[in-house]
Symmetry: C3
Subunit: 345 residues, 3 copies
Amino acid sequence: MADPRFYERSGPYTLSELVDISGSELLQKEHANDKIEDVAPLNKADSSHISFFDNKKYKNQFEQTNSGAVLVRKSFVDIAPEGTCLFVCDDPYRAYAKVAKAFYPQKHTLSYRANGPLIDPSAKIGVDSIVGPGTYIGPNVVIGDRCEIGPNSTIGRGVTIGDDTIITSNVTLGYCLIGSRVLINPGVRIGQDGFGYAMSPQGHESVPQLGRVIINDDVALGANTTIDRGSGPDTIVGAGTKIDNLVQIAHNVQIGKGCVITAQVGIAGSTKLGDFVVMGGQSGVAGHLEIGSGVQIAAQSGVIGNIAAGQVVGGYPAQPMKSWMKGAAILSMAVKKGRKTLEDK
Amino acid sequence: MADPRFYERSGPYTLSELVDISGSELLQKEHANDKIEDVAPLNKADSSHISFFDNKKYKNQFEQTNSGAVLVRKSFVDIAPEGTCLFVCDDPYRAYAKVAKAFYPQKHTLSYRANGPLIDPSAKIGVDSIVGPGTYIGPNVVIGDRCEIGPNSTIGRGVTIGDDTIITSNVTLGYCLIGSRVLINPGVRIGQDGFGYAMSPQGHESVPQLGRVIINDDVALGANTTIDRGSGPDTIVGAGTKIDNLVQIAHNVQIGKGCVITAQVGIAGSTKLGDFVVMGGQSGVAGHLEIGSGVQIAAQSGVIGNIAAGQVVGGYPAQPMKSWMKGAAILSMAVKKGRKTLEDK
Amino acid sequence: MADPRFYERSGPYTLSELVDISGSELLQKEHANDKIEDVAPLNKADSSHISFFDNKKYKNQFEQTNSGAVLVRKSFVDIAPEGTCLFVCDDPYRAYAKVAKAFYPQKHTLSYRANGPLIDPSAKIGVDSIVGPGTYIGPNVVIGDRCEIGPNSTIGRGVTIGDDTIITSNVTLGYCLIGSRVLINPGVRIGQDGFGYAMSPQGHESVPQLGRVIINDDVALGANTTIDRGSGPDTIVGAGTKIDNLVQIAHNVQIGKGCVITAQVGIAGSTKLGDFVVMGGQSGVAGHLEIGSGVQIAAQSGVIGNIAAGQVVGGYPAQPMKSWMKGAAILSMAVKKGRKTLEDK
């Protein structure tokens, strides 16, 4: 399911071949000669795909998957949906990394050639668009009308950009689709490898990142902000969202419309923000969470659980703003009164 | 008042035209044919300018402004200085954004031409200065003597640089004046759009950022640090101040002389630091504050109020260092004693 | 002891000359005509070197140094090892800065020539390696086989890179040795000046940074991450360590094998991490600390003391995870019960 503008696929592989590739045990040996075409996440896969299940948060998706085959721990075999072939292994994420590398064996970002031209002849650049000196435009890039691409930027193969978008200087874009009227400030990095590793004392195995980044219309991105591409799903920034400088958006994050993300915020992998969420400077949200629409998160707060729409939260762990402020006030009062311990009066 | 090296102005506009542009109501209709030449902040404006008043912190400036016209909410009409024309509106900041766009309609950073030379013929480069391969130098840039500009950097039109300054590689400079003996490490971004939006559920309207960045003599800036240009006033870094890597300096911030700003600090918009302020790593200061000279701010602290000169503060909200440490000690003691609640003995 | 691939040394200087350069008083005047060849840290120096001692944490190293001469405060003269010449001064770090500048007077990064070629003829590029358009490769760079260097990157003189390493686009490398199978994402900055200043109200004197950065095999570095070169010792990242986006690694930091450093972490100067340390997002470690192998540090935590191997810590100041969570729970309970002060029941 990886976008062919960015990824070249190998295979198909038989289940039997995938046993060797993944180092797993196939439970349904009668299907050893069936063929698998591609990798896909549990909730997007069909019978031609292989998926993995490793994080209990996604148990629901596993129980309902249409995937032809799933890499899974022994302990979850019982809740597998009928008709799905199971590859039992100790570390499904690591096994998936090996399988995904078999389907997508290409080198990282080979979208240029030594001594090649700065603008690839296959790139399409719209009417009244301008490209600054020193900027590299890769194969099959499509740029809309009235765009401005500054000097010394790098636009990797297959990237598409809408109309009236400004990409400033020293920017790197790869594996992404950019909307119209977007502003991308200097030093922004979009589409690089997400931080996906199957970790172990034997070494951290990198997991192929096969998704894209989708930047919708009217988004603005601050200087030196980084947005990693999805691991399979896409990383998405909704229309009209404004993101400040030095912000980190991890793989698979989905940000809604009209959000305001101020400087040095970090959003960890696979977290979803609703619309019009506001995050104060240097705040962070842990991975795999859901933050409802209209939520406001105070500066420097750390969010480690889901937050319902409309809440205003602060502190670490982030809690309703009033509770957090009261806690600080209680402690401050104890200090003023010269307490050495809590019960010392 | 925007520096003509960086900005081209349109207009003038009559008050009547500005009614249409801003969507506001002019109270002094007898002045409908008067002309306004430019936008300016309340404390810098004269009778040829239009300003806006939206943040109560600047009430004083509004009461004393010499501005010819001010965009203002109905509720503040009574405290307006005599002789100032008032444009009443619900969202003065949004109305100002529209007015500023009328006066400064130019595209973002069009300081280069497609297929143009890497070094614009109008740029002046001093004696014994060197420019690395791949670096773009825009129109009317002025570089002093004995400077070193590394490879693959981008120096936008009108930028001026003093003597003996080192700009390393992959740097982006725009809308800025750089002093002598300055060191700018790789990946620094200076002069991009500040994070200025008139926010609303109907969409966040970008506010033209019409100021500059002033980097005084003997400043050092760490790798991938970002300094946004002012919105009208300038963003200023005082002489001899040393700034570490990945620091965020927002628009209109003024930093005094000899400050030491360590890595990953964030300083929000319009905040002023005195001289010899020291900020520990990952600390932050909220916007529109005044931090006195000699203040020391502990690592990871969050400052949300003014701080008098010479104070040493820590925690979030930042408080005198001793109070903060005592609070932590009291809580720690309660934990050691196995309390489940504060009154549980 | 500075690597001649990156630094050109002047001298030698007699002790008498060094008195003038450093503004110090030589106690052993009978050695005034002895010669010193180079600067070196206390624990690496021999009789041909001059060192400085300014931080009590390194008292042990001072007592055992083999250095020919040491810049030192008067109060530590008594514990000096026999046979070491002593330069007494009020500010040994500032005096060292002057001495180091005398031995290494060269300009910052002059590894390119105006209008020079993008790839220096003295650079060696291995078999099946590719260099993207717009990338600058400096003198005496050595790149291994099957490497990929993306567009618009800057590789400074003397940098060496192993086999099968991917350097993406808009990267800056200087003063570093990079292993094999390393992945360096866009916007990474390696090898710039560390944040080393002898601070004082008379101005902060920059201290020459004479070390390198060593990136071992199988390391991955996230987008816009910054790693400063050592001040004399090297900054080191161990084999198989994975570092996420926007991370700050200060000078002289040593990171062990297989560590996992997530986004926006900061590690201050001269701190050592063991193997397989895990740091959560936006956490920080202060300078000159030792973090044992297998330590896990929660997101947004601030570590200000040494941590023994295997500990799991959180909060600021970082403490055992359980204590930190209990403290938060106690405070939260007080808020829920509506306390205004700690003793209010």
